[in-house]
């Protein structure tokens, strides 16, 4: 088996009395996309920046591409092979897009052509425009292009779509998939549940400096046994008797809201009752628990 791209063990980081990271262990395999999902202040940025060699952990150790980013030599080697988009990256406003890419390319031993990158990110027509004059979405594509300028093996994207409008966000998602298809490992942070489920098969939920759940999006939800929610719109329906695995059944104005382990017994039960009572079912909806539900369940708080 290939070496993991990232291996973090028991990372802790304190800022004064505040614990930003409280024992984070995580392994990221080569070639996969990991989404770190968590609210503001969860410690996502701190975690990434320790791996990038920007901050030092108080405790624990990390290996990134087989190197230790906490040592000067390891840090340099790591930084040669990673691509980074920081959470809030400003660029030199008075340099053009092409000048910016060429400047950063010159800082690496291995480099990608600026023209190719601009074409890939759909900003070739902006090459001679100063960065300060770009729209938010275009700017973010420059930031992404910058993260690829050294043909990295591993790409860190800290909140790559925060603050973007839905169109720009979709564009960035396409770019991220494009990066993944080239076999580059990606670690991204987000507080959008949708972003994590759409882009990543490997999700880690972070809260208060800890990883509270990890796995595939479906795996996390089913491991928590959050079950399903069935909504029935059928005025006049009463539910008598019982079905297997029902946790709660609440009557509303024109129907029922039922929480249960599995959908099938509940659906059968509802059908049987409706037929018996001669009541029409106008609508029946089965909702699986989402990552968002998982997060609320795990932390007692809303995401975002």
């Amino acid at each position: 088996m290939a070496l993991p791209a990232i291996e973090a063990v028991g990372l802790c980081k304190r800022y004064g009395a505040r614990k930003a990271l409280d024992g984070v262990s995580l392994t990221v395999a080569e070639g996969e996309i990991l989404a770190l999902l968590g609210p503001n202040g969860a410690g996502k940025t701190t975690f990434l920046e320790i791996l990038e060699g920007l901050r030092l952990a108080d405790e624990g150790r990390a290996r990134v591409l087989g190197e230790d980013p906490a040592t000067p030599r390891g840090r340099r080697r790591v930084q040669e092979r990673i691509g980074v988009s920081l959470q809030s990256t400003s660029l030199f406003d008075t340099l053009t897009v092409a000048e910016t890419l060429e400047l950063f390319a010159a800082l690496y031993p291995r480099r990608e052509s600026a023209a190719d990158l601009m074409a890939r990110m759909g900003i070739a027509d902006r090459a001679r425009v100063r960065v300060g004059e770009l729209s938010g979405g275009q700017r973010q594509r420059v930031v992404l292009a910058l993260a690829l300028v050294n043909r990295p093996d591993l790409v860190f994207l800290d909140e790559p779509t925060t603050g973007l409008d839905p169109v720009a966000r979709r564009y960035v998602w396409d770019s991220i998939r494009d990066i993944a298809e080239r076999g580059q490992t990606i670690v991204l942070t987000t507080h959008y549940m949708e972003e994590a489920t759409r882009l990543a098969r490997h999700v880690a939920i972070m809260d208060c400096g800890r990883i509270v759940a990890e796995g595939t999006p479906e795996g996390i939800v089913s491991a928590l046994g959050l079950g399903v929610r069935v909504r029935v719109e059928a005025p006049g329906l009463t539910l008598a008797g019982e079905a297997v695995g029902v946790r709660s059944a609440v009557a509303g104005d024109d129907g029922w809201r039922i929480e249960a382990d599995r959908a099938e017994p509940v659906v059968e039960w509802v059908f049987a009752q409706a037929r018996e009572q001669g009541v029409d079912i106008r609508r029946l909806e089965v909702e699986r628990a989402t990552l968002e539900d998982a997060f609320v369940h795990l932390t007692g708080r809303d995401l975002a």
Binding site: G53, R76, Q79, S88, F92, E99
Partner: protein
């Protein structure tokens, strides 16, 4: 090497495209010198305009005599207008010749030009004496030759002013060179550079190199203006001057980087730089000599590095001295450089402190 070249290139573009720094580092010192030179220095490249008026047999002879003095341009008018021209600045001096014997010769000068007035008045006296000698056919009792002594100190105000302005430009430019660093730090650009494998020092080295280039352009422009408009003639000492300039420039850039390290925002950095800049400018003897002061003020004056740079430049550029004359100045500048570099390194930060 490729990385350094790219950084230097990018930083040059950043500096040139920043209109504010361009104005402050290039236009402002030139303007200042023009103003000071015109007010106090009497542009020796431009001529002294003399309005001659009056009546009587000697008027024409005096006008002719004055017209032959190098640097004097003479116009003829009537006494009332001549004085008005001085008042309005159209003429630098009015000479009104009366009739009778002895003929009364009145020289009118504007009050603004104390340093030069004495010289001009002396010239008029000499011309009058020459006219008298010629007309009365008395052989001259004295023949006066005026010579300048190399190394004898600044001869005109411009000789004093130009090296001072050069030193001041180096200081201001250096002190404010950290502002961009603070801005880049506040915007997180320094952190972005920090996650590249580029060594820390390379970016600073590029920044310093670019700053030096700007300074050289600035000095060349200033010297050009001084030579073209004020007739300033560098007297030599180029080698020692270059060393003084390099030491001074680096010391002031280091001070600017130190300021960038202790200031939280660009505005704060600007305020601190000004707080250093203004007193140094006055204590450093840029506009008037401060070397003669004693007591507490004299002590303060001797603490100001700018003074040593100005002194070194004056001794070399204006007086033509070499390394021998500026040893102390260079030593003080080198010491300042060492100290400020230490401070800059100690306080340098890649990220802004969280509020």
């Amino acid at each position: 090497m490729k990385a350094l070249m790219a950084l230097v290139g990018a930083n040059l573009k950043l500096v040139v495209r920043n209109r504010q720094t361009m104005v402050w580092s290039l236009a402002f010192p030139l303007m200042l010198m023009l103003l000071l030179g015109l007010f106090f220095g009497h542009a020796s490249g431009s001529s002294t305009r003399v309005a001659v008026a009056g009546s009587g047999p000697y008027r024409a002879a005096v006008a002719q005599g004055l017209a032959r003095v190098p640097g004097f341009s003479v116009s003829n008018t009537n006494p009332v207008k001549a004085v008005q021209e001085v008042r309005s600045g159209k003429a630098d001096m009015a000479v009104v010749v009366g009739d009778g014997r002895p003929a009364r010769l009145t020289v009118w000068q504007s009050g603004a030009d104390v340093a030069v007035n004495g010289q001009d008045a002396l010239v008029v006296r000499q011309v009058a004496a020459a006219v008298q000698a010629a007309l009365t056919r008395t052989p001259p009792l004295f023949q006066i030759t005026v010579r300048t002594v190399a190394g004898g100190g600044g001869h005109t105000y411009i000789d004093f002013l130009v090296p001072g302005i050069l030193a001041m430009e180096l200081m201001s430019n250096g002190l404010f060179s950290g502002l961009a660093l603070v801005t880049y730090r506040e915007q997180g650009i320094l952190r972005r550079l920090r996650v590249t494998p580029m060594p820390t020092l390379l970016f600073l080295a590029a920044r310093i190199l670019v700053q030096l280039v700007v300074m050289v352009v600035q000095l060349a422009l200033t010297l050009g203006v001084a030579v073209a408009l004020f007739g300033y003639r560098p007297a030599g000492g180029a080698g020692a001057a270059a060393v003084a300039i390099l030491l001074g420039a680096l010391a002031f850039i280091a001070t600017g980087f130190f300021v960038a390290g202790v200031a939280r925002t660009a505005d704060a950095a600007s305020a601190i730089a000004n707080l250093i800049n203004l007193p140094m400018m006055f204590l450093g003897g840029v506009f008037f000599p401060t070397s003669g002061f004693g007591g507490a003020f004299g002590f303060l004056v001797r603490l100001v590095p700018l003074g040593y740079l100005a002194s070194a430049l004056r001794l070399t550029l204006s007086n033509g001295e070499g390394f021998g004359a500026v040893g102390t100045d260079l030593a003080v500048l080198a010491l300042t450089l060492l100290l400020t570099t230490g401070l800059a390194a100690r306080f340098f930060r890649w990220e802004s402190r969280p509020a």
